[in-house]
Symmetry: C2
């Protein structure tokens, strides 16, 4: 398997950028990072005037490959997408006049249902994994559909392409269309186990793909279904993902469906679904009491600003969630979100924070540094991989993207081949380059992508 | 001159899409549009099963060129950018922690000042005109700088490239840095006249480039400067552009600078700057009384949502402005805005309207149809060209873009050469294709761009 076979020792040489803390980037202009045969970072050197000196210093690296980046670019950690629906990708951009609940009925359930066809699932999932990789996403938490074979196919595709993934078979045993629902709690558990077993069989190490239990959201699951999934999570030590508090009508619906529960959060908590390995997407309208429980459980949050804006769900109070000590990553939430790009999601997180700031004051604003942290280190914590990915430190693995920006010639056109919409005029500091990328970049700037030191995408 | 030399009669054949009204698109799946030697639309045929029949019907078109679009694309009117600063393009994406007034001091004035260098201006302006054309902008209202030679150079570049443009030499005789300001009212008028005269000399017809008087905004102009510009506008029948009511600190500043004026709008009105040929950018925080005056004067609004969000200026109440009868177009406002793309601005207008909707209710939401109207017909009204551009009708001129989207093969990759991030899976209706483009498209989907029937951009 490509993802575990040894690779050639490699030294990545040039500018690298990663998060030092939520509010600070570490921008190292002359760096050299050594990645060993297992894809693990063996050394990080700074102020390197000549890569030959580094290779000389580390004797056993004399035959290492050198990947150099020009001064119009930098190495950056791979992005982590903590919430997206691979199964909805073909609907991207289609909203009509809907909001969350009507959108599910009109667009989402029919599309997901159609992926019972393995042939269609193969087309859509292959395309989507290519897309997320091309945008620099090295780890992705995916929702598939209720169908075990096509869910497993998604895991196969991720493993083959070398993209780290949590792959979830969706569970929904109530309030769902007749043509697209689980027949019973027993069926939910049987199918969920089948998918867990399959995914663990194809990647026993879990280095690349892992299963994740996926109760769709409280309105789609009976209390007994959720409790059974809570028990299964404990029994199998599996990750869990679901949605919470996305939209006010949805919250009212949950209140009416679970009248004895104190809150949406309590519904999940009663079913033992809030664990340190649980990812809750959205969290737009949580009460303080709910935030407190989520914090106590060590449960993680996936902030999905593009989706929340497109569906008019609301503006999640990310600053408040962070101040309360919650762990937050970014999620593209395709196709509520309209882009598979975490870079786009960084921008959307900035916009949403500015809209909060218009009402709540400047403290609500997220900076470029902060959204990049959420997209990398934050996301790594959300998927429980913060020791392995999200930054460039010795002992972590080389999940990275090579970002290249376009240099403008005197005549006004970009040098060499067209490198997207970011134009460098020569005066830019390394920090300026990062900002130009965040505000104006796209997949054209992501020249190469590696996971565990293996090249998984190249333009 | 390329823009006026006769061209070959051409029939554009395939799907075309344009706005029928603010809320409705006209999507014609099998259309044929004949464009004559002057770039004027001579006929529009619908339900065309074979283009040969059309050519037979119009005898003198038998030698016409045929430009056919495949069913993964459509012809769409060229975009109209009603407000942008070509001179700030090199700063795109650079904001730091600033808002409007501090951003001007930190980033904007130093950059604009540096364009006194014709060599630098040539690089930046050539690059920016290429950019706006590549995003399908066929008409653009540009701010240059205070420098007459480089302002005139921008007009030269637009004329040479064939992009319709209003080109404005910026006027600012107070509260500006010593290194970047007009010396006196006399200097403002002399330099403004010089630029008007030059631009009218290079394109006497005004088919492609026209001058536009450009008092930067009230804080940068003395009352006598504005009055003199109001008089000059009358004398020369020139267009006018400026900023209004972008940010609350700016509004407070205007109030303190013009204590005898009832409002920001009154400041301009007292100087006779509010005419039917005036474009006011932003209009985020206008009072009802101000809206009423602007309506009475027939003055136009450029909505710049990307900039307003990025600088945390506020969310312009576009629905209210439209309901009050104002004429509204879209502006990219680079580099307050972070993209030269009006398609991006369409999305940003949707987001801003959703943020308004979160507080004001659903009526505030702008639909896909509405933002496309603002980007074309609305913009055409703002720049006073609604009889010529913005739609496809007999007698109008062929300012258009050819939009092509990517078809996904069974194996999951796009057919042919990479056509950007929009994926078509085969089930999409023409309306779906428009939505996928608006939500996920970029310059890669703009294959060709024409102004007055002349090809001005090709990927």
């Amino acid at each position: 398997m490509a993802a575990s076979a040894p690779i050639k020792k490699t030294v990545y040489y040039g500018t690298f950028v990663h998060s030092k803390s939520l509010s600070e980037l570490d921008i190292c202009a002359k760096g050299a990072i050594g990645v060993d045969e297992n894809g693990v970072i063996a050394f990080v050197e700074r102020d390197v005037s000549d890569v030959a000196n580094v290779i000389q210093k580390y004797g056993e690296w004399k035959d290492a490959e050198v990947v150099k980046i020009e001064d119009n670019g930098f190495f950056f950690p791979g992005f982590i997408d903590t919430h997206t629906h691979a199964s909805q990708h073909a609907n991207t951009g289609l909203f009509g006049k809907t909001t969350l609940l009507s959108w599910l009925e009109t667009y989402t359930f029919p599309m997901e249902s159609s992926l019972s066809s393995l042939s269609k699932a193969s087309t859509v999932y292959s395309n989507f994994v290519s897309r997320t990789l091309s945008h620099g996403t090295t780890t992705c938490a995916y929702y598939a559909t209720i169908h075990v074979p096509s869910t497993n196919l998604l895991a196969d595709i991720c493993l083959k392409r070398g993209q780290r993934a949590l792959v979830g078979r969706v569970c929904m045993d109530t309030m769902s269309p007749d043509y697209y629902r689980d027949a019973s709690v027993e069926a939910v558990i049987k199918d969920s186990k089948a998918s867990i077993d399959y995914i663990r069989s194809i990647d026993p190490s879990g280095f690349i793909v892992k299963p994740i239990l996926t109760p769709r959201f409280a309105p789609s699951c009976t209390a007994s279904c959720m409790s059974a999934l809570g028990a299964l999570a404990k029994q199998t030590d599996a990750h869990i993902q679901t949605h919470i508090s996305e939209n006010k009508s949805e919250i009212a619906l949950v209140k009416s469906l679970f009248p004895d529960s104190q809150s949406y959060t309590h519904v999940y908590d009663s079913a033992d679904l809030l664990t340190p390995k649980t990812i809750l997407a959205h969290a737009v309208h949580l009460t303080h009491a709910e935030v407190k429980i989520i914090k106590e459980r060590g449960t993680k949050i996936s902030h999905c600003p593009a989706s929340n804006t497109a569906l008019t769900s609301g503006c999640a109070p990310v600053r408040e969630l962070l101040n309360a000590g919650l762990t937050v990553g970014l999620g593209t939430d395709v196709s509520g979100g309209f882009s598979p790009s975490i870079l786009e999601e960084c921008r959307q997180a900035i916009w949403v924070s500015r809209f909060r700031a218009m009402h709540d004051g400047d403290e609500a604003k997220l900076s470029t540094e902060e959204v990049l942290y959420l997209a990398t280190r934050g996301g790594a914590q959300v998927v429980g991989m913060e020791d392995k990915v999200g930054g460039f430190e010795v002992g972590m693995e080389w999940d990275a993207q090579m970002i290249c920006l376009g240099r403008v010639k005197k005549e006004g056109e970009q040098e060499g081949r067209f490198a997207g919409n970011v134009d460098l005029f020569g005066f830019e500091t390394p920090e300026d380059k990062v900002n130009k990328w965040v505000y104006g970049g796209d997949d054209r700037n992501t020249e190469r992508v590696w996971v565990r030191g293996r090249l998984v995408h190249k333009r």
